[in-house]
């Protein structure tokens, strides 16, 4: 009975705090929205919409009996090329190089003498590119010239194989044709989008963060010296402790449901075909994160140090499981595997993709073992340290 009273009071306290509500319900949605909005624009194959033109030093000498390369000159005059490249004549390789170093040019292209005749006769012809100081500029100019060269390469190859008439036919290509489409990872059900991955990883990060609520709940009584008063009442220590933890646990469950439902309604994030199993995983995740923070809270002296340890662990685990910035692929299955997030994240993604139940069960087993270990650690440390002033 006492446990219920304490739990209900705890719930009332938590739901009255405005900043807690902001934290637990608004922020995750903001994060999911941000991730979805920042990264959804790039799902198509098209590059960035606005590109600043790059000043390219072109060294195009006339040598070996031939004039300067007409092909390059013609290419540089194309309107779509002019949009991304501002060609600037440079006298020699040295001039171009020193211009690059001084930041006068963003990129340099050295055309060897007799480039055109080499290309037309099907021999080896290579341009030399010198990379400049800006990575984006290098990429823009490099891509433009590379595309030009590769078209020429295929043309040359065509001429070499089919004879000169290959040049006379112009292949008609629908302008907006995309030779690549994004495949659907799904095994039935709705189409999988990349934003689902981030939604799942954010949900897990916030479930881990719910540990911080445990800290504030446990330490506020100590700091306000109300724990003494409660201890003087006919309330058992364990009742108080369990009541508080239950209260925080219920808030975390509500938070988890809110994130799942709201992200579904507002942003159309699809959470898969096994809602029951999804909730089970979330519940296990909540148990793991809460028991983890209980252990940390019981062994640390101040609320500040406990919450800083918890937030460091949360950020590290989310980072290592690949939830924030992309990590090398090899990492995810080695170092990532030591995090709690990893196992649940994999399972949630499989559910989103309608995988077989047998593929999800190993993850369930592992997370259950983690929970069991953490739970006994929490009980052990409560027995050892206890919750009193």
């Amino acid at each position: 009975m006492n446990t219920w009273t304490i739990m209900i009071y705890e719930l009332r306290r938590l739901f009255r705090s405005r900043s807690m509500l902001l934290n637990m319900f608004l922020l995750p949605l903001v994060l999911i929205f941000l991730l979805g909005a920042s990264l959804s624009g790039v799902v198509g194959v098209k590059g960035a919409a606005k590109i600043d033109p790059v000043r390219v030093a072109v060294v195009n000498p006339s040598g070996e009996g031939a004039g300067p390369s007409a092909m390059i000159a013609a290419f540089l005059k194309l309107p779509e090329v002019q949009k991304v490249i501002i060609p600037q004549e440079a006298e020699s390789r040295q001039a171009a190089e020193s211009g690059l170093r001084a930041g006068k040019y963003g990129y340099a292209v050295i055309v060897p003498g007799g480039f055109d005749s080499e290309v037309q006769s099907g021999k080896k012809a290579q341009l030399e590119f010198i990379l400049g100081k800006n990575r984006t500029d290098n990429m823009v100019a490099g891509t433009a010239f590379d595309n030009f060269l590769s078209t020429m390469n295929y043309k040359q190859a065509a001429v070499a194989t089919l004879g000169p008439e290959a040049l006379t036919v112009s292949a008609s290509l629908p302008a907006d044709h995309e030779a690549v489409k994004l495949g659907d990872l799904n095994n039935g059900g709705r189409t999988y989008t990349a934003s689902q991955f981030y939604a799942a990883s954010m949900l897990l990060m916030f479930l881990l963060y719910s540990g911080i609520t445990v800290t504030s709940s446990l330490f506020s009584e100590k700091d306000n010296h109300t724990l003494h008063r409660i201890n003087s009442m006919p309330v058992k220590g364990s009742e108080l402790f369990i009541g508080k933890i239950l209260g925080v646990g219920i808030v975390s469950i509500v938070q988890c449901l809110a994130i799942i439902l709201l992200s579904d309604w507002l942003f159309g994030v699809y959470w898969g075909n096994r809602p029951g199993l999804l909730l089970l995983f979330c519940l296990l995740m909540i148990i793991a994160s809460m028991t983890l923070s209980i252990v940390i809270c019981l062994f640390s002296k101040t609320a500040a140090s406990a919450s800083s340890i918890i937030s460091v662990i949360t950020v590290c685990m989310t980072f290592l499981s690949g939830g924030m910035a992309p990590l090398p692929d090899a990492w995810v299955n080695t170092i990532g595997a030591v995090t709690i997030n990893h196992w649940v994240l994999q399972a949630v993604i499989r559910m989103m993709l309608h995988s077989e139940l047998s593929q999800i069960l190993p993850n369930l087993l592992i997370i259950s073992i983690i929970c069991l270990v953490m739970f006994s650690a929490a009980i052990f440390s409560y027995r050892k340290v206890g919750y009193h002033e």
Binding site: S17, M20, L22, N23, L27, V30, L31, L34, A37, S38, L39, S40, G41, V42, G47, E97, G103, K123, Q126, L127, E128, I130, L131, N134, R135, F145, L149, S150, N153, Y154, Q156, A157, A158, A160, T161, L162, A166, V169, A171, L173, H177, A179, V180, K181, L182, G183, L185, A194, Y209, I212, S216, S220, S305, S311, A325, P326, D329, A330, V332, N333
Partner: protein, 386 residues
């Protein structure tokens, strides 16, 4: 002036004067940041794993894979069928998967426009670049196939001719050589700066929480009864936490530069200045939040959670250029963006004629936020501990 320094010095002593304080505020965070720097720096020359299934028996599929291998950016790993490929991508064994359908060559050669399938679990810079690359190669092949079609007029063995052209093209008679004088900053510099900024921001919270403790413990009230002016208290407190922050930055930089030997490609003093300016802004943010939220514990929580969205928007995790336009505009309001930009400008050799802008913006943000944030020094409110 003397009083300001007394307050500031006291603040420094309280935070890092003891051995435990030195460990938790200076040593531990610096080691974490330095470790992240070295790990991310080590990712530099790592090539992304690409899973593929090639159902095509003709030349086009092979040509595509050879060209991808040729770029040197990808490590290609075969998977036996589409299901295994999907499974590999879901299990994150590779960043991207590409599936080349059966009869791809034949369809191309007969003037059709078959499509390749690319699988990704999430959008990353690598997967975007990969898609663009595959698209370019595939379009070239399509064009070539149509040329073959037009020349032969649909007669003869179109597939053989097409294959011969691709084989010829694979020799790259027309191509380019790249001369790289290492003039540009490395790819990881942005990520490393971003991560450093993120950790700095979370560190600053800890010193601001000390000021909050003063308020809660009513120490602030006593300070105000001493013969010091309120602006001296405000300046002293901010100066104190600024000094702690400066020491943190210095240790991180020294560890990174001289112990782990990471080359920042930016003069150390400039990097230091950028981080210091950014730290002023995050102090402002932390104290503003603390001023707005009464309960000190919630303030810490709110701060930690303001951190992630601003870092995302500010481009700490991925380059800003991949985001849509309106998000890039929103990024202008994030201090992280300007700090990263300043480092970028410095790394490409820009002088103060370009650098003044990010610094001015950071300074302005810091001034405004600190002015608002000085509200947390109000002595009469201890904050409710609901």
């Amino acid at each position: 002036m003397n009083k300001i320094f007394t307050i500031a010095w006291n603040m420094v002593k309280r935070t890092i004067g003891s051995r435990k304080g030195f460990l938790t505020y200076i040593l531990l965070p610096s080691i974490v940041v330095a470790a992240i720097i070295s790990v991310t720096g080590g990712m530099e020359n790592h090539s992304a794993t690409v899973l593929y299934t090639n159902r095509d028996t003709g030349a086009a599929g092979q040509h595509l894979l050879a060209e991808l291998e040729n770029t040197g950016d990808y490590k290609l790993v075969p998977r036996k069928d589409e299901a295994a490929l999907k499974e590999g991508v879901i299990g994150q064994e590779g960043g991207v998967g590409i599936w080349i359908p059966a009869e791809y060559t034949a369809q191309l050669a007969h003037g059709e426009q078959p499509q390749l399938n690319i699988y990704e679990l999430r959008t990353t810079e690598t997967s975007i670049m990969f898609k663009m690359k595959v698209n370019t190669i595939a379009n070239e092949m399509l064009q070539t196939a149509q040329t073959v079609h037009a020349v032969s007029g649909g007669t003869g063995d179109a597939e053989a001719g097409f294959g011969a052209i691709l084989k010829q093209a694979g020799q790259h008679h027309v191509g380019s050589t790249r001369t790289d004088y290492d003039l540009y900053p490395r790819e990881t510099l942005g990520v490393i700066t971003g991560m450093t900024l993120m950790f700095l921001m979370s560190l600053v919270t800890s010193t601001v929480s000390l000021i909050m403790d003063d308020r809660r413990g009513r120490t602030m009230m006593r300070m105000f009864s001493a013969p010091v002016r309120s602006y001296e208290i405000a300046l002293g407190n901010f100066l104190g936490s600024f000094m702690v922050g400066v020491i943190q930055i210095a240790v991180v930089l020294i560890l990174g530069k001289w112990v782990l030997r990471y080359d920042y490609e930016v003069p150390a003093y400039l990097y230091f200045l950028v981080l210091a300016a950014f730290m002023l802004v995050s102090m402002g943010i932390a104290s503003t939040v603390a001023g707005l939220v009464r309960n000190p514990r919630n303030a810490g929580m709110l701060n930690a959670l303001i951190l992630t969205p601003t870092c995302m928007l500010g481009g700490c995790f991925w380059p800003l250029s991949v985001m849509p336009d309106y998000m890039q505009k929103a990024a202008n309001f994030m201090p992280q963006k300007w700090a990263i930009q300043a480092v970028d400008i410095a790394a490409t050799g820009g002088g103060w004629n370009e650098l003044w802008l990010p610094f001015a913006i950071l300074g302005l943000m810091a001034a405004v936020l600190l002015a608002i944030g000085s509200a947390i020094l109000r002595p009469n409110e201890t904050g409710i501990s609901a």
